[in-house]
Assembly symmetry: C2
Homo-oligomer: 426 residues x 2
């Protein structure tokens, strides 16, 4: 019997775990991803703050799929633009591929909530290139401030505003706060550290809302020790001419606004079926991750929204949920319909770090903060990184930076202007 | 007595060594460079072939200048656009800076010999971003070939042409040849290694012309073992519609042409003096590296051309000459005119590598090739890299790749399209 074609859109946590646990005797597996690598989003902020090389948290999919548990899974480059539900095909910018079963694990991208032109004006952290760009632009502001004598321009260049008080926002604000406290004086003699202003703004009344009150308080304490201003209960309305305006009338002038305020499911066009996305443009699935309104299509990870008694608004969009859904679906795919196990999320806890020696870890039962939590954070993240070489390089970088504060990665490495002929075009 | 202002344009081998040895009691030193890092060109080809992270061979200037031998030297970001010889100022895109003494160490860039639009169509290796781009595009061709069914297009995607038979050309051709021999079969099941064609083309009748006959022969042997075609005595005339045409009428169709065929001095505009550049747009200097036709201006490194009895056409444009000129000028700058020592180049030898276990080393007296030469090459390059952290990371990468052929760096990491507002603009 020939194998059935399983196409997985997206080689993130969900898609890769599905490929790992799927039965290779039944399924002929292909991962389609616009990038040729699996990335590790929890550490994007360290790329943005010049603490890690991009390559340390990016893993070529072809190399991964060569490893034993994935054996025979294939990779094809492509950005999936549409799915023909009736014809059972997907179409990328390069080709149309037929499937027997399709799993959508395409993840999320930034949500700009319809604020005009915001995408062009802010920096973000939802992909490796976005993080590299964030690093380049933060360092560029410091260089340009050194050269700038106009006090107003200089102030705007040295004001860094992070919008969004979730883990990504807290972590990048903390990392910039550390630069202010420990790096500026040493490496930028033309700047007084007090000139650098770091502000984190959150619409809710607490940081790390998803992690509970204690974690939120610890985060505020930690950030304040790094001289980061914490603004709560302010929602951004507009950002134009370098001025960010908030709903309560507050304004701040900044050349650098880092946007971590929300995510939305990657946009996909469905043909031959009427698929209505749910909250946050997520794809509505049943307890078996089956896409409502289509046959032979599943959605897993951040892009999927599944509701149950415990999670009436869907599961949190975190790595754990994605990994667990990938594995559960992989096992279900080799079962008959009746024998399928509904997905049930096991929350192993969440964590966030706020600079050196400071982190918060929350497992529901247990709340840790401070230096021990930070070691837990380091250990868990190091072990989650794919590949021994990457772990070794990350560990060297962390130890080096811990003792010296002297990152060798503060590089402004912008692309040479690409000629028109180049990329994606044929 | 207040110190005199010494401005150095360029933080490469020449400029950085000058800053290191200049007398800090006399000179107030500022390095102006468009990039905030010092780079290590001999290993650019390893970035292009996904063997090393860009950050491993790029060293933030602010961190370097913090180190003891440079103490108090400053860095300012800027691309020097013009030099006002009469007013004693330089102008970047950001500012105008006065100098008492100016040292031009701006290096070279690619020479396209006036071939129309060549710059937009080829890939090059003269800077870190160019090398990153080369990596992205080589990997992109392989991905697109996997998806391509049209035989002619597929052939063009899988043909890699390197123009220029100097060390950079030989090294990148060898690295792509290694991918063909060792990587394609393992990681690209959709491609037959025999489909991949690697060609190196040189206008002269030998490779590595500067290193002597024996080295040239060894390079050809080594490249042929890696299934690289070596074409000698062919000069490229044009490259359009994917077709490269050579003076003898030969043509080859390729999507990827890597240009290492020539360099030219970085363009600079001189005001208030008539400075005539010499061969290869290099700045003509006397035996003390004084720029002919200007006061208080010196030029060192690849951009300078100095002739003496032994080098009637100028010194080779290599790291050693740049380092030696930087040091010699640094010492001369604290001497009176009469006590200055004319520069004399001490050739310590040259080397190039052609894949694993193969290199050629030529010290004039001694010619080495094969595995021992390769170890010499590895050792010399590793020791020349700035910083312990970088050496450790490079060593890990080399050892890892040597045993596994499984580079974790084969990443296509293209920039997110930058918005119009961003960079360099104010």
């Amino acid at each position: 019997m020939s194998k059935k074609k399983l196409i997985i859109i997206g080689g993130g946590f969900a898609g890769l775990n599905l490929a790992k646990f799927a039965d290779k005797n039944i399924w002929d597996i292909t991962i389609v991803d616009r990038n040729n690598y699996h990335a590790f989003p929890p550490l994007f902020y360290q790329v943005a703050s010049a603490g890690l090389e991009p390559a340390s948290i990016s893993f070529p999919l072809r190399r991964e799929l060569n490893a034993r548990p994935y054996r025979h899974a294939r990779y094809r480059m492509g950005n999936v633009e549409s799915i023909d539900v009736a014809a059972h095909t997907i179409t990328t910018q390069f080709e149309t591929i037929p499937y027997d079963t399709l799993v959508i694990a395409a993840g999320t991208t930034n949500n700009y909530f319809g604020i005009p032109d915001l995408e062009k004006r802010v920096f973000s952290l939802k992909s490796v290139p976005e993080a590299i760009r964030c690093r380049n632009e933060i360092l560029d502001r410091l260089e340009r401030a050194v050269l700038c004598k106009d006090p107003a321009k200089r102030k705007s260049l040295l004001t860094f505003v992070v919008v969004g008080g979730g883990p990504a926002g807290v972590e990048i604000a903390g990392a910039i706060g550390e630069m202010k406290r420990f790096v500026i004086k040493k490496e930028y003699p033309g700047i007084d550290p007090d000139e650098v202003k770091v502000i984190i703004v959150e619409g809710n009344d607490a940081l790390l809302k998803a992690m509970g009150k204690k974690a939120g308080h610890d985060a505020i304490d930690g950030l304040r020790q790094l001289c980061v201003d914490v603004w709560l209960g302010k929602t951004m309305e507009s950002y134009a001419d370098r001025i960010a305006t908030f709903t309560d009338g507050t304004t701040v002038t900044t050349d650098t606004l880092i946007w971590t305020a929300g995510v939305t499911g990657q946009p996909l066009i469905f043909k031959g079926a009427d698929i209505k996305p749910g909250h946050g443009n997520r794809l509505v699935v049943d307890r078996f991750n089956r896409l409502i309104g289509a046959d032979d299509i599943y959605a897993i990870g951040d892009i999927a929204i599944m509701t149950d008694e415990k999670y009436p608004h869907g599961h949190p969009q975190v790595a754990q949920a994605a990994l667990q859904q990938g594995k559960n679906l992989a096992l279900n795919l080799s079962r008959t319909q009746d024998a399928m196990t509904p997905f049930s999320y096991r929350d192993k806890g969440t964590m966030a770090t706020i600079g050196r020696n400071k982190a918060v870890v929350d497992t529901g039962r247990l709340h840790l903060s401070g230096r021990f939590a930070w070691f837990v954070w380091l250990f868990v993240h190091l072990m989650s990184i794919l590949g021994m070489r990457n772990r070794a390089v990350v560990l060297i970088n962390w130890i080096w930076n811990y003792f010296t504060f002297s990152s060798g990665l503060r590089l402004i490495m912008r692309p040479k202007r690409y000629p028109v002929r180049a990329y994606w075009s044929e």
